[in-house]
């Protein structure tokens, strides 16, 4: 065998070995990506399940109350962060509205003020009316609302993930904007 063909053979073998490692890398990349993106690729709705918030009689008519529940998907090391708060508005009879605690602007916890019938956000001053519709400030829409039903005498909501503009608790159209010129 002459030296030049031996050299080209070694160069070929080296390229082949690179290719081999590339293939092994690709095989390894699949489970790694699947592992990293697993929680991200799971469909949002699959996190949701029906949760009982309490008996209907626990919510006086005409009042809006803070309720917390344990998220249906938690790990033992979530601690307090496994809990979620929401606002329950009992309009009358079997009519309810259940709002997410998270402001539609950037997710800060809104507070209900019964006297002025407003939800106010501490972060950037977003304000909402009693029915969750946008009143003023930077939020692009009204409060996120959970789907709810009454099962026997229990108020149930469908919840499981943090509501944001992309992961809404309930699909509701963007509210018409209040004059933003001033």
């Amino acid at each position: 065998m002459n030296p030049s063909s031996a050299k080209s053979r070694r160069a070929f073998l080296f390229k082949l070995s690179l290719l081999l490692n590339g293939a092994v890398g690709a095989v390894l990349a699949v489970p790694i990506l699947g592992y990293i993106l697993g929680p991200a690729l799971k469909k949002g709705s699959s996190y949701n399940s029906w949760i009982a918030l309490g008996a209907v009689s626990e919510f006086p008519e005409g009042e809006t109350r803070l309720v917390d529940y344990l998220n249906p998907v938690t790990t033992p090391w979530d601690g307090e962060t496994g809990k979620v708060a929401c606002w329950v508005r009992h309009i009358a009879g079997e009519q309810f509205q259940v709002f997410a605690i998270n402001c539609a602007h950037l997710g800060c916890p809104v507070r209900w003020f019964a006297q002025s019938k407003l939800f106010l956000c501490p972060c950037h001053g977003g304000a909402y009316y009693a029915d969750g519709s946008r009143a003023s400030g930077p939020p692009p829409r009204g409060l996120f609302e959970y789907k709810h039903k009454i099962d026997g005498n229990k108020l149930m909501i469908s919840a499981g993930e943090m509501p944001t503009l992309a992961t809404e608790a309930c699909n509701k159209k963007l509210l018409i904007q209040i004059d933003r010129s001033s």
Binding site: G44, T74, T75, C108, R111, F113, A130, L165, Q177, D179
Partner: protein
């Protein structure tokens, strides 16, 4: 004694014969630099590097105790603060070290920009530097999350909400950021891995590349007005400058770096000792909603900007502006790689630095007192000024009670107390007539909610009558000019 010395040299030679690192290190340390660069203006980069070492060391020490679990992180921070000898001090040094590092990196960047040091052949050094700035800010943000308190929890909420605005992949990004459906254990573990492994790894490697290029290309010479950078001639000129008028970096210039680094370290230690550690604030329990979350100092300007964007502009602004800013920083040396280096011949550059500094300063200042946020307890805690009640009719006084009880004070101040979201009401009757006040209260508008549903007619009447008494220092009441005309 001489025998011991001899043995020592022998040992050194034995190691060096095998390792071979001492020679290149000494050569690098003694590399010649232009005499003009042995300046106090050239000490910030090395100080930033010393701070990185401080952060790594204190970070490892904190990791000996910190528990990266959503259920225990806050408790372990309390334990560090109160139960462990000098745990509070280590946390304080790490926290203040982070603030100093951001400050020094920004000063370093400004100096490099004003001295034109990013120009040929140091373009890539600047680009890696921009990456280092982003990594530093990434460390600051992820570090703030590891201080797992209320601010960290709701800060993650803000991060998730911003991610959710990306069209198409918003939900995917939210879940990737949180590591699950809600902010919880998986989220903290993710940020722990980023803060402790991923970002520091990239950061240290990038610092290596950054410093390698500084050594390879030589430190920027002191710029002179009129001495232009040309790609064809610069490297020869620089070489001549160093040949003719150079000095070894160690020790001729390095002593200034060392003195400044020591001063910075001392300042960090002093701040840590006198001001103590940052937080943690309240425990990260999302059912405790009596909180006004706020990011750390370095991110206050973003928090402030987010309060002023109109809703329709917010998403495009959030997604486009960072790309433009980072893109501009990265492209700067490629676009302006030649020409004048001296600041006195670069007015646009100087004005840009001034403009950016003032902008960041103003928004950060606003972020410290958040005038856009309602003050949630003003309605129960701020007194009505007595001069606004003296000599008033029962109806007007009733109106003062309505104003208090309906939380108007959360957004409007009286006598300097109350929220700053809306205008102060001290002289409202000098600006608005009775009709205008009534309309504004009932229908809202101009960023004020309408109170038509929250007030009954009696309350509205009382409130408006009280507001009509508020005329500042006895200003003339506002009048509707058309009223007079209509009467005639």
């Amino acid at each position: 004694m001489t025998k011991l010395k001899h043995r020592g040299i022998e040992l050194y030679n034995w190691i060096e014969h095998r390792l071979g690192l001492a020679k290149p290190i000494v050569e690098a340390a003694e590399h010649p630099i232009p005499a003009s660069s042995a300046s106090w203006w050239y000490v910030f980069g090395s100080a930033a590097m010393v701070l990185v070492v401080l952060q790594v060391v204190t970070g490892i020490l904190l990791a000996l105790v910190y528990v990266p679990s959503a259920s225990q992180a806050w408790n372990s921070l309390q334990f560090l603060n109160h139960n462990l000898t000098l745990g509070w001090f280590l946390r304080a040094v790490h926290g203040w070290g982070s603030n100093f590092m951001i400050a020094i990196v920004l000063i370093h960047m400004t100096q490099v920009f004003l001295f034109g040091a990013y120009k040929f052949p140091r373009e890539l050094t600047w680009i890696v530097g921009v990456l280092l700035l982003l990594l530093t800010l990434g460390m600051a943000f992820t570090g703030q999350v590891l201080r797992f308190d209320q601010d960290a929890y709701w800060g993650l909420g803000i991060g998730a909400s911003i991610s959710s605005r990306v069209p198409g992949v918003g939900a995917l990004l939210v879940h990737a950021l949180l590591g699950g459906p809600i902010i919880g254990g998986a989220t903290l573990s993710r940020f722990f891995a980023l803060h402790v492994f991923v970002i520091p790894g990239i950061l240290l490697a990038s610092i290596g590349v950054h410093v390698w290029m500084v050594l390879r290309l030589g430190i920027n010479e002191w710029p002179m007005p009129g001495r232009l950078v040309r790609k064809s001639t610069y490297e020869r000129q620089y070489h001549e400058l160093v040949q003719k008028n150079g000095m070894p970096f160690v020790p001729d210039a390095a002593w200034k770096d060392a003195v400044f680094a020591a001063a910075v370290l001392l300042a960090v230690i002093a701040c840590a000792f006198f001001f103590g550690p940052f937080g943690p604030s309240g425990q990260p329990d999302p059912t405790i909603i009596q909180t006004a979350p706020k990011p750390d100092f370095a991110f206050l300007f973003i928090y402030a900007v987010l309060a002023f964007l109109p809703p329709s502009l917010e998403t495009p602004f959030l997604l486009i502006v960072p790309v433009i800013v980072i893109g501009a920083l990265l492209l700067l040396p490629l676009v302006a790689g030649e020409g004048e280096k001296h600041w006195s011949r670069r007015p646009v550059a100087v004005l840009m630095v001034a403009l950016i500094a003032v902008t960041l300063g103003v928004f950060t200042r606003l972020g410290t007192y958040t005038p856009w946020s309602p003050i949630m307890d003003a309605w129960t805690s701020d007194p009505t000024p007595t001069q606004y009640l003296r000599g008033r009719t029962p109806l007007e006084r009733q109106g003062a009670l309505v104003l208090q009880e309906k939380q108007c004070r959360d957004c409007h101040s009286l006598g300097g107390l109350g929220g700053l979201r809306g205008p102060s009401l001290d002289s409202i009757a000098a600006r608005m007539t009775e009709d205008q006040i009534t309309r504004q209260v009932l229908q809202g508008g101009g960023n004020m909610p309408s109170y038509g549903n929250a007030l009954n007619p009696a309350e509205t009447t009382a409130l408006v009558h009280f507001l009509l008494t508020l005329r500042g220092q006895d200003l003339t009441p506002a009048v509707d000019a058309s009223r007079g005309l209509a009467r005639h």
